[in-house]
Symmetry: C2
Subunit: 720 residues, 2 copies
């Protein structure tokens, strides 16, 4: 066991017996143990200097993880620095994203072209084009997904591993392993504690993802002090209970050989469970703050870094030194990567001859192409009976999902409720699993039962989408209200512009008797405010068709299609799928309008009825259907004015049983919720909250009176 | 083991040896085993009939849990049906809230006054005053907290148990156990899977909460089918790894005696770990759909219920029958409860004589009284140097927290960042724990290290607040962005109007180099839209004082005080704590104003500087500080108009580096974020996004030109 109290004690430790092991081809016998020590020292000092430079940064974990970096980048991972997007590369994720310097320095050392020396030095500089932000970001070479919010990375890694398992099962043929990459994920203590991490571990174990290795940087330090202040669980036992194999590494600071041996076990092709390598490290090792919380998020200090250099026998006045021997140590990696890519390309060429159709499908998917006919798989018309829009959803996409294998559909244990199954759907599950009830699955399956784990569902979907953009389009589903559980991961998808489609059902107080815990009234505000997020509330089946067209065509991030539990009228002849693509459109025009009624989603038909009611009182209303704020804002000002006509002096009133926040931009008044919902069956709930047609019409009339009398000030949104 | 395929097989099973056990005073020897069977049958049929009545509801779990209900309400729990708010009562939480009929029926049978027969029958009726909503709600007698969103209940239960541990440690004296209640929590398979549940189990084990018993309704069925479709972990092993003791009950359908024995172990006073009772049950037992997913969320069906009655030997035509023997079985409970209350009252009387000061403190806290001088503990003035508002926060509350024991402060592993420690603070931790680093704690401690578990932190805080409202005021803290992880629990607090104060730091792009994952741009929209939530962004130390005054005085729900990481100017002489209490107020008036600048929080000073810049161009600006939407909306229309003056034709422009959504109600234009942030040190980030004073002033001038020229339509919010 490493000595937690040691300061520079580990700087001089030896890499026990690295030379003795000759059976691992990836650890060349000729590597001198002193060379490894030099590499480790060099790496640690580089990290220390980088944090010192601008007096900011997270040095400790990256320093403690030096040996793990050598094992991964030099010996075990299969990747090509000069072709960072090589399809079959191993994926690496740094779930403890604050330790980003660990990754940046390794990308630099292993020869990624974009990560120049100058770029590496830009960490925490004023350069807005720095490739070294405070957490790893997907936009940059060698970074698979953006990490930082703790627990997300490990969940994404499960998604990457599922993607690989699924593509392997779908495309590999005897002698042609065109997809067989491994997923490596580093986690810190935080990822072991965060709920989304716990969900990820439990589900990955269930799925028996033998192509996933988690490397636990067990430094036992978090911001508040030693981890035992807040967590004393038996981590290995817990992981075993979740179906993982465990390997312990006692000297993670120096024992590169042991780490390599463990990682190699992770890659073994016959594996039927994920591997958890528990590596004891020391945060900030070699420095005076080794093993202390203070090493986590602030630079070690000038004197301290000098002392490290002195203890290592380096010149304490020199900074940013990478000895020639260290550069030589990493010099072969670009070429080795190139060789891997060439071998794989030869394999794919042979595969294309042997299995031409499969190869074409794979290449199309790699290029992000959907079959040309995808839109024709969406119905052109729908039944006219009142239909729950969750059912409209199924009518819309059942063929699309059945016939286009790019889609992987999942639900957080709401299969009977979200209506997203399709003809002959196959479940993604380990083929060895024989469930007590339910169908046996396989890794070819495209329907994912995520369990009651909404958060990890959305985070896994991010991983599926990022594996190779366009190859898999993940679809998640749950009740809208539970997308609050999933929100941190949905946001990460939006931040990364990942193409994920979320289907949120039970999206209104119409959910009824389940009550206020299940009735969303404020959640849409979050998704309407979220950058890059295409949040759409379609008003009937025709609009559901438009929502899907919008979601599939949208390349700027995730979409969320928000649908009803209960049956809603079909406004045939009024609703237009093309209108959805513009965010809002005129559902019913009225030249001499007194008022515009804006309505949306499950309650779209209310406006139509209120209009009729108002006509009895000689008030002429026009109606705007408004399924998506974001899409509407993308339209020209001229279009927006034509739709809303507020510039002509026609006041607009929005009807939506959510809180009004966000609608003030488009409306002068609103018939909205003023608080939480109530448990009442669907047929009573709307009336209970005043969404009864004649009452709404009366409120509109009162408002119009005030409006004309000048009792309503300009810009004063009135809650009716 | 129960037979999963059995239909009515368990209706006739015996309660093995219930008569033989005489050492348990709570299981009277004279109880006839046939009587127990009758009680179980009666309970199951009552549930079945209740769901049949309106063709809605969740029958299966409640039916499967019948024996557990008998063990809890009849034999083990200490409570008083006629004094449901008795301070020292055992707390029971139904974390699997959809099984609410289980609780409603038991409340009825054990004699809670409000739960009349008529009320019980109102489940899923059109009655808005029903005490039997679709999930248990805190407003009703015998319900400790609202449950339903899965995993929340178990986390709340941990909070209840912490509250009890803490109050016991604080107030009990030898011979005077004035607080020694137990917390019982039922969980289903979902609570075992949800991340927040996993966090709760891990943390409760760490805390060694011997006063908490979790009863796992292990029916192995979820909506999608058998649980092994999605979860195959070794639950007991995992719970053991988390520090729990495990007891298995193999026949949870009928073996009341075994359940009682297990529960009694949970209550043992010397316990030093929480207890997990894994009870194998059968969903919908006794019916044709026993053990099937379909028994979960829809009524069993008329014929099916008749068949159950027939198999039990009951009249299949009769509904809602509770035999006299069953009524008799429960008849003693109100009286037993009364006795418990009387004994406790006597104890408190004696305690008050022996320990008068302690008793007075306890009584004041039970009454929700803070010391009269609480406001005087907040400074009347602050240093004038630029100060991070997270630091202002500490300056404001350090004495309040040190001197008023009602507050329990916690953080999700960000002690060095959130600045909420206070003089001689003591950590809440098991006294037996000796952390490798950091102070040893005790159950008297009021500073809670929650670990990196934001979600459970907020859910536990709900439990602390609900234990006995006002006795404990929990304060949580983390980065604002991580309150997205915590959001489902924060929302539950808002729904239940629980007094929790959340301190959200690093609340702007000024968080800087951590980058877009950590920079909130859309999250405020959620909290501003959330009913009952008092979301406040104070602009300097003086406003922080106002925010605390508002939060402490607010009785309508939780508050969130949103503060900066970085130093912000102190606008002394301009900011007013009393202004915060009105939500928005005039910071600088200007009679002949051309424009109102609205500004808020970390960026409040921007407006002051922009005003100066505009003056150089003879444009007169007035400034409104706007820390809270909710508080402002509560003011009179007259006040609102006086602050905003839009009705006088003065356009308003908001400056806030968040997405604009929500500000359109108060402003005609905005200088806001248009997407996610960027990783850049704090001193560069604002300029990078155009929040530079002269640039902002130019944008304001351009807008005012367009405004005067009529290029901006009424109600057209313009993103500058």
């Amino acid at each position: 066991m490493p000595n937690i109290d040691g300061t520079t004690a580990y700087g001089e430790a030896t890499v026990n017996g690295l030379l003795a092991k000759e059976e691992k081809p990836t650890v060349p016998a000729q590597t001198n143990k002193d060379d490894i020590q030099l590499v480790l020292q060099s790496f640690r000092l580089l990290i220390a200097d980088l944090c010192q430079q601008f007096g900011m940064g997270h040095p400790g974990s990256a320093i403690g993880m030096a040996a793990i970096g050598v094992a991964l980048w030099k010996y075990v991972m299969r990747y090509a620095p000069h072709q960072p997007d090589w399809f079959n590369r191993d994926r690496f994720l740094l779930s403890n994203g604050h330790a980003c310097l660990f990754q940046y320095a390794n990308l630099y050392l292993s020869g990624y072209k974009a990560m120049t020396w100058e770029q590496l030095l830009s960490y925490h500089s004023e350069r807005p084009d720095s490739l070294c932000p405070g957490h790893p970001e997907i936009e940059h070479e060698g970074i698979e997904l953006t990490t930082g919010p703790l627990g997300q990375g490990i969940a994404n890694a499960v998604g990457l591993a599922i993607a690989s398992k699924h593509l392997s099962a779908t495309f590999n043929r005897p002698g042609y392993e065109v997809v067989n990459n491994h997923t490596w994920c580093m986690v810190g203590d935080a990822c072991m504690q965060e709920g989304v991490g716990c969900e990820a571990f439990s589900y990955a174990g269930h799925l028996k993802l033998g192509n996933l290795t988690v490397i636990y940087d067990n430094n036992q330090i978090s911001c508040d002090g030693s981890v035992d202040l807040t967590n004393t669980e038996d981590v290995n036992k817990k992981m075993e209970a979740c179906g993982w194999e465990i390997i312990n590494i006692h000297d993670g600071v120096n024992d590169v050989e042991a780490i390599v041996a463990a990682l190699e076990q992770g890659r073994a092709p016959e594996r039927d469970r994920p591997l958890f390598i528990n590596i004891r490290t020391i945060i900030g090792v070699g420095s005076a703050v080794a093993g202390q919380a203070v090493a986590h998020g602030v630079p070690l200090g000038e004197d301290n870094v000098k002392a490290m250099k002195k203890a290592y026998g380096w010149n304490e006045e020199e900074k940013f030194i990478i000895p020639g021997k260290v550069k030589d140590f990493y010099a072969d990696l670009p070429q080795r990567g190139e060789k891997l890519v060439q071998e794989w390309k030869h394999l794919v060429t042979a595969y294309s001859k042997e299995h031409p159709e499969l190869a074409k499908t794979l290449k199309d998917r790699m290029a992000g192409k959907l079959p040309d006919n995808w839109e024709s798989l969406i119905p052109t018309s729908y039944p006219s009976d009142p239909t729950p829009s969750r059912k409209s959803n199924n009518l819309t996409v059942a063929r699309l999902l059945a016939e286009i294998p790019t889609f992987m559909v999942g639900t957080a244990d709401l299969t009977p409720s979200v209506n997203l199954t399709y003809k002959d759907y196959e479940i993604f599950n380990p083929p060895s699993l024989k469930p007590m009830s339910g169908k046996q699955g396989s890794y070819k399956g495209r329907y994912i039962h995520y369990g009651i784990r909404e958060h990890v569902m959305a985070a896994i979907a991010n991983g599926l989408a990022a594996f190779s953009p366009g190859t898999i389009i993940p679809i998640t589903s749950s009740f809208f209200m539970f997308y609050l559980y999933a929100a941190p991961a949905v946001r990460m998808g939006a931040l990364q512009k990942l193409k994920v489609i979320h289907i949120a059902t039970h999206d209104s107080i119409g959910a009824g008797e389940d009550g206020p815990t299940h009735q969303p009234v404020e959640l849409a505000a979050l998704y309407r405010a979220m950058p890059n997020m295409e949040y759409i509330r379609p008003g009937d089946s025709e609009e559901v068709a438009g929502a899907w067209k919008a979601a599939i065509e949208y390349q700027g991030g995730p979409s969320m299609i928000s649908v009803s539990r209960h049956a809603i009228p079909q406004l045939q002849g009024l609703t237009k799928r093309s209108g959805v693509l513009k965010g809002a459109y005129v559902l019913q025009e009225e030249k001499d309008a007194d008022v515009t009624l804006i309505s949306v989603g499950a309650e779209l038909s209310f406006a139509v009825k209120v209009k009729d009611e108002l006509e009895k009182h000689s008030i002429m209303a026009r109606i705007v259907s408004f399924p998506s704020h974001r899409l509407f804002r993308e339209q020209s000002l001229e279009y927006q004015r034509r739709v809303l006509r507020r510039n002509e002096g026609v006041p607009a009133i929005v009807i939506e049983p959510y809180m009004s926040l966000g609608w003030e931009r488009y409306a002068d008044a609103g018939i909205n919720m003023k608080g939480y919902g109530h448990s009442l069956p669907g047929k009573y709930i709307y009336d209970h909250f005043g969404f009864e047609i004649t009452k709404m019409a009366t409120r509109v009339r009162t408002f119009l009176g005030d409006w004309k009398d000048g009792n309503v000030g300009r810009g004063e949104f009135v809650e009716l």
